[in-house]
Subunit: 464 residues, 2 copies
């Protein structure tokens, strides 16, 4: 893995080190991917249409976490229907950036179906499966709401995509670029781990910079807060895959916020094609004997679930780090809460405060705003005892002095806060605020970014 981007659209130098490149054996077996510029994004040559297809002969298990917005975008509706009718199976997905195909009425729905069916018709049918049982192609779109897709551009470009699908690292990177809208860098991660007697691989892509808000509802079914996919060559039963995805999304994508706006298009997909080789035979050329699908409750399921959570956390943090206009990556950690839910609610309240986020941007140690946001967390009266709350700035790893800087202890402000030290801590790119509720032992973390002039610039003229 190296930190160099190979893109012609270079990310800003400060974000360069978040772009990871991988060698060919890092990616899951049995997938081919590709992307082109179809003219959906205005910028010439910008990749805006991508496809991922499984080459395994049996249909992939597939799971999704989808937005709960009442105005579900057409691709969300189509993806949900495909998964429902297939019992959690899919061939792959098609994604476009530049137009969300959201609030586009009946025509939007037709367009999303056209995208899905065109890709399915261009891929060779699975020999193992009858013509009527061929699994469908899931759909994701991101970009401007309320405009129709340039569907002719898309259908014209799709044969070019599907005829050049590849498993190369470059193809994976291009697919990640086809997800990008206001993102400043492509978000691609890969990992390899042992699952029983298999070596399995997992690749993840996501995008998201604005219209990012955490899930405030119950965990089933969670909504995701961005567009993302994790593809693995592990074999996992569809119901187990959905369960693992719900668990992972709640602890990752549902724990980030950029601007509090829950999108119409939020989609996290997870695909598992079972193409992984055996441990003793893990060369890329060898697919080994077919792996049996993991079921919920097994030891392998526990391992897979945690690996998926870690991958999802890594991808989710990239979104917070690349929040629109972000100059800081901010972790809000709340410890000693009476429950995970309370700790998480407090962390989300602080992470969502415009005043906290602008103070972080201004590198202003205005910690009163942190307290204020702790105090207005919507919780039953009496849940938080203000005389037991402590707040501390945690210096980032690159600070010379790693001593935590206490601001408030048991509701009383520290008598002589070292403002110079606070200022040094706030100059770092990575900031961490620790809130101790003094009321239990549960901990939650939420990741966000600061709120800058550029956020306003980006969103004041997004369409133009």
């Amino acid at each position: 893995m190296s930190a160099a981007a190979t893109s012609s659209n270079k990310p800003p130098p400060s974000k360069d080190h978040h772009v990871h490149t991988y060698s060919g054996d890092a990616f899951p077996l049995g997938y081919v991917v590709g992307a082109v510029h179809a003219g959906i994004k205005k910028k010439a040559g910008a990749l805006d249409l991508g496809v991922l297809a499984s080459t395994a002969d049996r249909p992939c298990a597939a799971a999704a976490c989808l937005t709960r917005n009442v105005f579900k975008a057409a691709p969300v509706t189509v993806t949900a229907e495909l998964l429902n009718t297939s019992g959690g199976r899919a061939r792959g997905f098609v994604v476009n950036a530049g137009c969300a195909n959201a609030v586009t009425g009946k025509k939007g729905l037709e367009d999303a179906w056209t995208m899905s069916k065109t890709v399915s018709s261009l891929l060779p049918p699975l020999a193992s499966t009858s013509a009527s049982e061929q699994p469908g192609t899931l759909v994701m779109s991101t970009g401007v709401i309320g405009q129709h897709l340039p569907i002719k551009n898309i259908t014209s470009a799709l044969p070019d995509v599907t005829s050049h699908l590849s498993s190369s690292p470059n193809a994976w990177m291009n697919l990640a670029k086809a997800f990008m809208t206001t993102d400043t860098f492509p978000k691609l991660r890969a990992r390899t781990f042992k699952l029983g007697d298999r070596v399995v691989r997992m690749a993840g892509i996501d995008k998201g910079a604005g219209m990012i808000a955490p899930n405030m509802g119950p965990p089933q079914p969670p909504h995701a807060t961005l567009l993302g996919v994790v593809a693995t060559d592990a074999a996992v039963a569809p119901s187990a895959l959905q369960s693992a995805l719900n668990y992972a999304v709640d602890r990752s994508f549902n724990s980030i916020t950029v601007d509090g706006d829950m999108s119409t298009n939020d989609t996290i997909l997870c695909l598992a094609n079972g193409a992984a080789g055996k441990v003793e035979d893990e060369g890329r050329e060898s697919a080994g004997a077919a792996m049996e699908e993991i079921q919920e409750g097994s030891a392998e399921f526990g391992v897979f679930k945690e690996e998926l959570r870690e991958m999802a956390e890594e991808l989710a943090k990239l979104v917070a780090r690349d929040g629109e206009g972000a100059t800081k990556f901010v972790t809000i950690r709340v410890k000693n809460g009476p429950s995970y839910e309370v700790a998480s609610a407090v962390a989300k309240s602080v992470a969502s405060s415009s005043l906290v986020k602008t103070a972080m941007y201004g590198e202003d140690a205005n910690w009163g705003r942190i307290l204020c946001a702790v105090g207005y967390t919507p919780l039953p009266e009496g849940t938080i005892d203000p005389t037991k709350v402590s707040v501390t700035f945690m210096p980032s790893a690159s600070c010379a002095d790693s001593t935590p800087l206490k601001l408030l202890t048991n509701g009383e402000p520290e008598p002589n806060i070292d403002e110079d030290r606070a200022s040094v801590i706030l100059q770092e790119e990575d900031l961490e605020v620790l809130v101790d509720l003094g009321a239990g032992s549960e901990e939650a973390r939420v990741w966000t970014c600061d709120f800058s002039h550029d956020y306003v610039t980006i969103n004041g003229s997004y369409r133009s």
Copy 2:
């Protein structure tokens, strides 16, 4: 009333016409007010400490709506205690700007009591009331959180304030200025109306530009979202005054939002001293026979309640108009909702969206973001039917063409939206978005402002 400000700290020319000045007979009888620069604000000469006292011999009825933030500022705690122990009576209030005296621990509480008691000791005792029953002075503070008041400056300056109290229009305007923090203009309004056989008057002052968020909780007791006071010379029983204030606050201050941050200091006070003259004897020099206190349920109570609501709405809209960095005043009107609560929740969701607010700032007709925010209103599933929702831009009164511009009708986007017309409408200072839920007959309005570069500038360096 004229539109000219008499301030040395002139508001920006564009806000000039929101500063109203009044003749002496516009203000309620039986109150004296004043303000000085005590050195709490850094700027030399900026008024930052004010007092209002009733000169009526009987104690004022007093009511308050206070923040629900867990971290209640010291002045909020003191005001609540004074009202609780007196059964809703007060002598007047003291207010300071520049330091919120919030999250300041035990010393903060002592300081707030010192402010209150110092003013009480400086005012002549009421002859009608025994020494132990003298009503107290309520306290309000606004400014930076987490710093101690410069209490010596305040106690030194208070005799100067109380020895120069006056009922002049200039004194009222100065009191309004002593409320200001990031406000760009002082917010003072007065009105006169008939109540039974009396002519009564009402004066209102408020402040607020940031840390403004609506009440999401149940209406009893409402929290207010800013600092404000309404003083009237009507006589109203304390319980009736509290009831009228709750009603008014819910439909005014609880229906505005600037940045979604609920303050530690939110306080709306209402004082009623009963000094109004009779209709046939309404000269300022004559206080007439003592007016009997209005009780809840009477015809006069209904009139008073509506007058108070109108005053509160007028004051609340000024806060949205003067939101930190605001260049637009935005009304979100939601009609044909199944209930007031649903209509209000949808309006608040749209009014709170950073993406809607930055689009308004950029004069970008990105109406998809409006839809998106309607769609993520936290409501039980099925409450909103996306196929019945319509969205329209309402041109402001100063637009040449007053025809509403339809964007979405029954969930389908209008086929050919006139973008040039949308652009003309969005160039106005006053914007109105109409959302029709097509699901009932209830209506709610929420007032907000746009989200500009200046918001970030103001809040990225508030303390420096």
